[in-house]
Symmetry: C2
Subunit: 350 residues, 2 copies
């Protein structure tokens, strides 16, 4: 197979971790005889510094022309404590989501047997947890009309959803549930919000088409509780943009392996694969960041082209590296490996 991958390494540790994922993809390509080409492009604070735009048009074109996007991380502390800064790295992220039509963010969260003691939860609560959070990513209060009154004393944000948007994401969520354990939890706040009531009605209308999926509706406050109390009871969870932002981050810490979690953002034009962790500026350039989340994002990338064996081999390599302690300092302080050493080990295992 021929794949043309746009590489948006971004800020902080982005370049280092993306480089390891590329090593791993290359190893897989050699072994399975695929032809991979990479086109790098600017994004985030780096792009603001160089061309004044966190998601430049040139980058957008490269993404549009790609089969998939491998993304590192964005964010720089110099923008953090200034909510009024005119241009911010996050705007690039939101622009990318909108322009590429990245309507679904997919986050698998599963415990790694060798890392159970990293979880803040009790072992018996978290052991064996394996869930997938599907977050709507281009609608809701993120993209609705917002602003300030003339006297600046009043602000507003609008959350909107259409049945088309809701159906599109629910279809995807049902499909994931069908491939997994056939349980789908739809999270909303239908006792308060009009948009949530539209979500619930739309879902209820779709249910008959998915008779083999067990559907469950849950209010967002309840979901925030149950994720911690009984993480094992969830299979696929789907929800709107803002609730998904909160719940997917909450879900990501229950296994204690934040530095290992990948994600995919499924798009209309192309899809983006990235670690869920941030740009970790304190570690930038030190060759100490954990590349595994990005490597596993690369596995999701290959999987999206039905390269299942390839993806599985990457996951196997990662599991072996964890078992054998070929890990960065966030996982083991005793004899930590460097970022590049972990990448080399994974590539040579493959």
């Amino acid at each position: 197979m021929k794949l043309n991958i746009a590489v948006l390494a971004g800020d902080g540790i982005g370049p280092e971790i993306v480089a390891q994922a590329q090593k791993v993809i290359n190893a897989v390509a050699t072994k399975f005889n695929h032809e991979i080409s990479y086109t790098p492009a600017l994004v985030g604070a780096t792009a603001i510094d160089q061309v004044g735009d966190p998601y430049p048009e040139a980058t957008h074109q490269i993404c549009m022309d790609s089969d998939a996007v491998l993304f590192g991380a964005i964010g720089d502390p110099k923008f953090d404590n200034d909510p009024k800064a005119k241009v911010r790295p996050e705007q690039g992220l939101l622009a990318m989501r909108k322009k590429l039509g990245l309507y679904a963010n997919i986050r698998p969260v599963a415990t790694f047997p060798s890392l159970l003691d990293k979880s803040p939860l009790r072992k018996d609560i978290v052991e064996g947890a394996d869930l997938l959070v599907v977050r709507e990513l281009t609608g809701g209060i993120y993209f609705g009309e917002k602003g300030r009154s003339e006297d600046l004393k009043k602000a507003f944000d609008t959350c909107t959803y259409t049945t088309d948007e809701i159906e599109r994401i629910l279809k995807l969520a049902f499909a994931y549930a069908a491939k997994r354990n056939k349980r789908l939890t739809i999270v909303d706040k239908a006792n308060v919000l009009a948009t949530s009531r539209l979500w619930r009605e739309t879902a209820q209308a779709m249910e008959p088409d998915y008779k083999d999926i067990e559907v469950d509706y849950m209010f967002v406050d309840n979901a925030a509780m149950q994720l911690i109390q009984w993480p094992k009871k969830f299979d696929v969870m789907v929800t709107e943009n803002m609730f998904g932002d909160i719940l997917s981050d909450e879900a990501s810490v229950i296994t204690g392996s934040l530095g290992l979690l990948p994600s995919a953002s499924v798009g209309v034009h192309t899809s983006v694969f990235e670690p869920i962790h941030g740009s970790y500026p304190q570690a930038a350039g030190k060759n100490i960041a954990n590349p595994v989340a990005t490597v596993l994002s690369a596995a999701m990338l290959l999987e999206s082209f039905d390269l299942l064996e390839e993806a599985e081999l990457i996951r196997q390599a990662v599991n072996k590296s964890l078992e054998q302690g070929i890990v960065t300092e966030d996982i083991s302080k005793e004899k930590p490996y460097k970022t590049s050493q972990v990448g080399d080990w994974l590539a040579s295992y493959i």
Copy 2:
């Protein structure tokens, strides 16, 4: 002191648990020579059944005339799976909040040493956690304009906030922080929402008036993570209505003692004191529900009138009951006490 308490027992286990709190208040009143009168009133599903309104005008008048409201719980499963039901118990709750001007919901969350093993979190993570969540309760997306397009294919909700609303709740949060460990975490999504940016600007403008309070701004997704990863790092957390709904429920499960947590909703006209748990319909009438959260809510009620010694005595009684195993079946399955027995024990201890 003379106190006139409106008693809104509500649905499910509401009447049973409120009765125990009244026993405890009466014991305190006798000991400290206070004169307490109670005026019962209808609310919730019970009120819908009897007069067709979950927060009838007569109830509202009783609340308006009261010094404080002791509230049980509302909610009935017969309304649960019908998001289109015309009248729902929750509407009564929202109407009550709005009409009584209950602008702040206060939830203290602290570990009970004797119940550490109930927490879903690891003991070392949760031991000693002691935080207070302040949730704005009469603004935001709960009360903004909402609706559906004519063809029913589009829905919207509006989140609005004014500087006055924000200042009022932040003042209260700063005051709580001043009485506690002098740390205030202000949670928002200022990188995305216009209302959050107004919250942050308003807070930043207030900071100089509270020089002894250490203020910290946190995005809501990050707060959802840190609550689980490092619950001990929080002292007072304040946030807007929807985020507060999610985060206060999330916070309530980290200590594992959901059935023990009280709350206060501070109002313009009167204040409401209630357990944070629900109406638990499966247990209704069985005399097995845990009355402690309601009893501790009564302690918050007394405290709000500066009856500090009285409140402290109630807390002491509760701690003793937990240590001595005078607890309902949710806490100990071995030799559980009945709801009324726990109430009697607490009253006679006092």
